[in-house]
Symmetry: C2
Subunit: 387 residues, 2 copies
């Protein structure tokens, strides 16, 4: 049974002063149900993605809590965790349930509440998405440090000037400046990016995604259900592939490629019967600027070592770029409420395919979302197409 996305909604990403974890998740969920024209009682299952709903948001058991708040009835409510790819896991489980014919219409929501904890606490929780018995974790390697190592290696291997990293943040902040849901809606200049304070060199402030609160939800239905309900502009799920990979820095064989992404991408393209060149638009997991270069190379959008120059040349811009990447502004501008990120990426691809984005890629029919957990311990790749 073909699964389709038939409605979506998200909260504004950023600092949610008033709202708790379940408030955010419930609001996005209600919005998605309204958009899809689905009554809560009609939903047959809920899949919720979060990394630290309990550890940072204080809310355990969130799928059951959100199901109760929405009045879904006594349906199965399942919480999925896959670090920064938690939202995509929830979407993939929903798709699998619809494809298997177990359910006809299900709700997916991803959420995170992070800003009420201290930056040190958040940094430690995120670093715990690696093997905490590993030498690198015990030595204190956090994610900014890890991605700084990848950046140094990339610059060294390919002889790239460190200043080119700024082109990623400048591009994504520009895209994000037109995204009304983005955490940062102001552009940054190249000089601002290069002059910002170092976080873990060569990464500076604007090379890093922020700590955000937010939620995003999608209603997934079978094509049969969507047709029977007259859904307008449904979006087909052409592939939903997941793979695991190294869970500590010292396990990586290369610092310029994440094997889980390579494997998941291969599965996704095979399932969708597509090649990277046929993808019109992609949202990739730019938790740090360097991650966007490596992602676009692992996905086969650019040859090894060429993403940096392609970015500098404007190839990844929505305006005038042949290979538009992160029209939403990516994690760098949109924000990174961890559990919501994967779902928000998919929402942007749905917008693009429906032709309703604030940063529309003209004629986009095929889109891809690339969501990564930890040090590449998990990759979830989803390919969507016009229904």
């Amino acid at each position: 049974m073909l699964a389709q996305a038939v409605g979506y909604s998200q909260t504004a990403f950023g600092r949610a002063e008033e709202d708790g974890f379940a408030d955010l998740a419930t609001r996005a969920s209600r919005g998605a149900l309204d958009a899809a024209g689905v009554e809560p009682e009609a939903v047959q299952a809920l899949f919720l993605g979060t990394y630290a709903g309990l550890a940072l948001g204080g809310q355990g058991f969130p799928a059951a809590v959100v199901a109760a708040r929405l009045g879904l009835g006594r349906v199965p409510a399942t919480t999925l965790e896959g670090a920064c790819a938690s939202g995509s896991l929830a979407f993939h489980q929903a798709v699998a349930a619809v494809e298997a014919g177990v359910h006809d219409v299900v709700l997916v929501v991803g959420a995170e509440k992070m800003t009420s904890a201290s930056t040190a606490e958040v940094t430690k929780m995120l670093a715990s998405a690696s093997d905490i018995a590993s030498d690198s974790y015990r030595a204190g390697l956090t994610f900014p440090g890890f991605f700084a190592l990848l950046a140094r290696r990339y610059l060294y291997d390919y002889g790239v000037d460190a200043e080119l990293l700024a082109d990623v943040s400048v591009k994504n902040r520009d895209h994000g400046s037109r995204n009304p849901y983005a955490h940062f809606q102001t552009p940054v200049t190249r000089d601002e990016a290069l002059g910002a304070r170092p976080i873990a060199e060569p990464l500076r402030l604007f090379d890093c995604s922020p700590i955000s609160d937010g939620a995003a939800a999608i209603v997934v239905a079978s094509k049969e259900w969507a047709s029977a309900h007259g859904t307008e502009r449904p979006v087909d799920v052409l592939a939903a592939a997941q793979a695991s990979g190294p869970v500590s820095a010292e396990e990586l064989e290369s610092f310029v490629s994440l094997p889980a992404v390579v494997v998941a991408a291969e599965k996704a393209f095979t399932t969708a019967r597509l090649t990277p060149n046929e993808i019109d638009v992609a949202e990739v997991h730019d938790c740090f600027t360097i991650a966007e270069w490596i992602a676009t190379e692992d996905l086969g959008f650019f040859k090894r070592g060429e993403a940096a120059a392609a970015t500098a040349d404007g190839a990844t811009r929505v305006e005038g770029g042949l290979r538009p990447i992160n029209p939403s502004g990516g994690l760098l501008a949109k924000g990174h409420p961890v559990g919501a990120t994967g779902v928000a990426q998919l929402i942007e691809i749905i917008r693009q395919i429906r032709g309703e984005s604030y940063n529309q890629v003209a004629g986009a029919e095929l889109g891809l979302a690339h969501n990564v957990g930890g040090t590449g311990g998990l990759a979830a790749i989803t390919v969507l197409g016009r229904g």
Copy 2:
């Protein structure tokens, strides 16, 4: 495609001084693979259940970490959370993947590391498996308090003497005294139970399950795979049903029944085409003594208000009982490492159906596991049968 359990293993439950979360989960997983005769490279997906792997165990992203430690290759590794029913959710997702034909052989593991946190911290984390914006949570209602309310209501509604609660703990501690993996392997007398210090009256110390560390793992395969690999004594998964329910005390319409259990049980019996009377043996979620009475009534094993007398009469004992409940000793004796609990319940049912339990119910062919999360916010019911 019929799903079968083809191998299992668990760690001893209790206080694991040396082992971290991932150590426990990895050990149980290796044991299950060995028991099933499955090489790590042959596993096609991993499903891991935990409630507080990050919040209490300090290990985020555990499915990916365990997959890497086991050397599973680049397979999907998914973490499921459903409070105290997390382990069953992992098992149910694995069964769904096999039934849908997505995978042929998958690994399920449930784990929790709780004893390195303080009792106050654990109690708060467990209480967070309810809506933390609810009045009852904000007023400080923890799980011992919640189940004490249920106990008071049960005793009042049915005119039952509070001393009868002791029969549940005496029976389960007796069963547990023969379980080499149990947290408590010593029996308690009725006088000891009744003389123990109050925790939340009428519940006393032995009415409450302990805080434990532990892990349990099962290999699930398609019947086709199991036949082709000559698996001995495979156990059929006849039903795996899940439902959601109230997530705070004030949402419950009755304090002597959990609606999620009633709904999930109805679904499970319908799917398995069985009635409660046909079940030979059951593991039920006795986080507190009162919970066993309510569970056995919600499941239809006893009429409303009759579980107390039935327990007093010995009906739920393995020796001489017509309706043996918790041959493992239940959570009260076996311990309750939250994420592992559901998987350990299923392991006991598999042992029973294979005829290899330390507390064998003669001729057991059909068994049921009943696993509950939070204040009944989630129920997962699994029915297994001889393959």
